[in-house]
């Protein structure tokens, strides 16, 4: 068996490329990324539900929403266990449907108000910034974020 540490960095699987080669340190890094992805450890006291809708294929500006789901939403879920988070990935077989499909993040507040963030052609970091501004989220204190020491 070829270990990840024996491979040249360029030959490693894409999703592992920035993570450490050793199994244990990689696992720690992964857990730390769940608890504290960059600029995502926020609390959403005013929000009751987040609903992300995007296409299952990345083309036409849907990559940002996918990355937001993959990285930022995990951390949001970790710090807000009471917020209902839903993700809908729409399957669009034809090009017309693909162009028509929206990429939005719906925010439902505790008092029932609804707001939308358009995620098309936006980077996941920008979606996160917009969400924080829109909902007046509170940044988590350092002692609230668990860190596994290397």
């Amino acid at each position: 068996m070829t270990r990840a540490s024996q491979l040249p960095k360029a030959a490693r699987a894409l999703f592992l490329r920035d993570l450490p080669a050793s199994r244990l340190t990689r696992q720690r890094e992964n857990l730390n990324l769940i608890a504290n992805y960059k600029d995502s450890a926020y609390k959403f006291p005013q929000v009751s539900k987040l609903h992300l809708v995007f296409k299952s294929h990345n083309a036409y500006g849907h990559m940002g929403a996918k990355q937001f789901w993959k990285w930022n939403l995990r951390t949001i879920c970790f710090h807000n266990p009471d917020v209902n988070i839903e993700v809908t990935r729409v399957k669009c077989p034809t090009k017309e449907e693909q162009l028509k499909c929206p990429s939005v993040l719906k925010v439902v507040y505790a008092d029932g108000r609804e707001k939308k963030i358009d995620c098309k052609y936006k980077h996941s970091d920008d979606i996160m910034k917009e969400l924080v501004e829109l909902t007046q989220a509170v940044k988590c204190q350092e002692d609230e974020i668990p860190v596994l020491k290397q």
């Binding site: 769940i34 992300l52 789901w69 939403l73 951390t75 970790f78 988070i85 668990p146």
Partner: protein, 270 residues
């Protein structure tokens, strides 16, 4: 290279004209065999020593509620039927010992146990289906299984009435590997089918495979309390199976890992 390949056969073997697999196997000397056995013993000893260490010493150890917080975050936005929580227990035992097996009564089961019933009496088939059996039938069901028309992986248990046992022999090779062959020794040949179903419908069978016991214990939308109760139920059932195991050397339970479909594996107390 040429020396080593020509050694066994005494002939000169060309790579261009003969296959590598056709070369005679190099026999191991007694010293090499002894060294291999020694290495295997050492590996077993290391596994046993690691298994005896408490879970808290593991760098990836977490209490169950904390672990669930991480796992739920890793499964965010997945459909509920996809986000399944699993438990994996390492079993350290001697090679050749009978595998651990038993059944668990979950506080909140994922699904009811899928029971397959063989009964020649039509009325009994109907009562079995009414009691919660997934499928019931007589000789015609056996024929269907022999023809491969039924997906046996959907079932967890199979029971039969005593008069059907002889008729099941032709499909023993289909049922046996799945652990579905009814046998009096396992208590799956019964007169009162309905009573058996009522007693066992919420029981989940488990079996050791490749030094591990691995099973689903719930979904991410279950509450912490339900999941903890399920973990405790697994722990009790597995420890009972270890106590009941009849082997010369002791069986030890090693590290227990809680994980989900897309999530990391986290070591927990067991």
């Amino acid at each position: 290279m040429l020396k080593s390949t020509a050694r066994g056969s005494g002939l000169f073997r060309l790579f261009a004209t003969s296959r590598v697999l056709a070369a005679p196997k190099v026999k191991k000397t007694p010293e090499q065999l002894r060294a291999l056995q020694k290495r295997a013993e050492k590996r077993e000893a290391v596994a046993a020593r690691n298994a005896r260490r408490p879970a808290v010493e593991n760098p990836l150890y977490m209490p169950v509620p904390t672990a669930l917080r991480y796992l739920r975050a890793a499964e965010v936005g997945r459909p509920t039927n996809e986000a399944v929580i699993t438990l994996q227990v390492r079993v350290v035992s001697r090679k050749g010992d009978a595998p651990l097996q038993g059944s668990i009564k979950f506080a909140r089961p994922l699904t009811d146990t899928q029971i397959l019933v063989f009964a020649s009496d039509e009325a009994m088939q109907q009562t079995a289906l009414a009691a919660g059996a997934r499928m019931a039938g007589g000789k015609e069901l056996v024929d269907k299984i022999a023809a491969g028309e039924i997906d046996l992986s959907a079932f967890d248990r199979a029971i039969a009435t005593p008069d059907m046992v002889a008729a099941l022999r032709p499909v023993a090779r289909n049922l046996g590997p799945k652990g579905l062959m009814p046998a009096p020794k396992r208590g799956t040949v019964v007169e009162d089918v309905t009573k058996y179903i009522e007693d066992n419908i919420s029981l989940q069978p488990f079996r050791q495979r490749n030094d591990h016991i691995a099973l689903k214990i719930g979904r991410c939308d279950f509450s912490d309390e339900d999941l903890l109760k399920n973990v405790i139920a697994v722990s009790e059932a597995v420890k009972a199976a270890v106590a009941a195991a009849q082997s010369k050397s002791p069986t030890i339970l090693g590290q227990t890992v809680l994980s989900t479909t897309h999530g990391p594996g986290i070591v927990i107390d067991f």
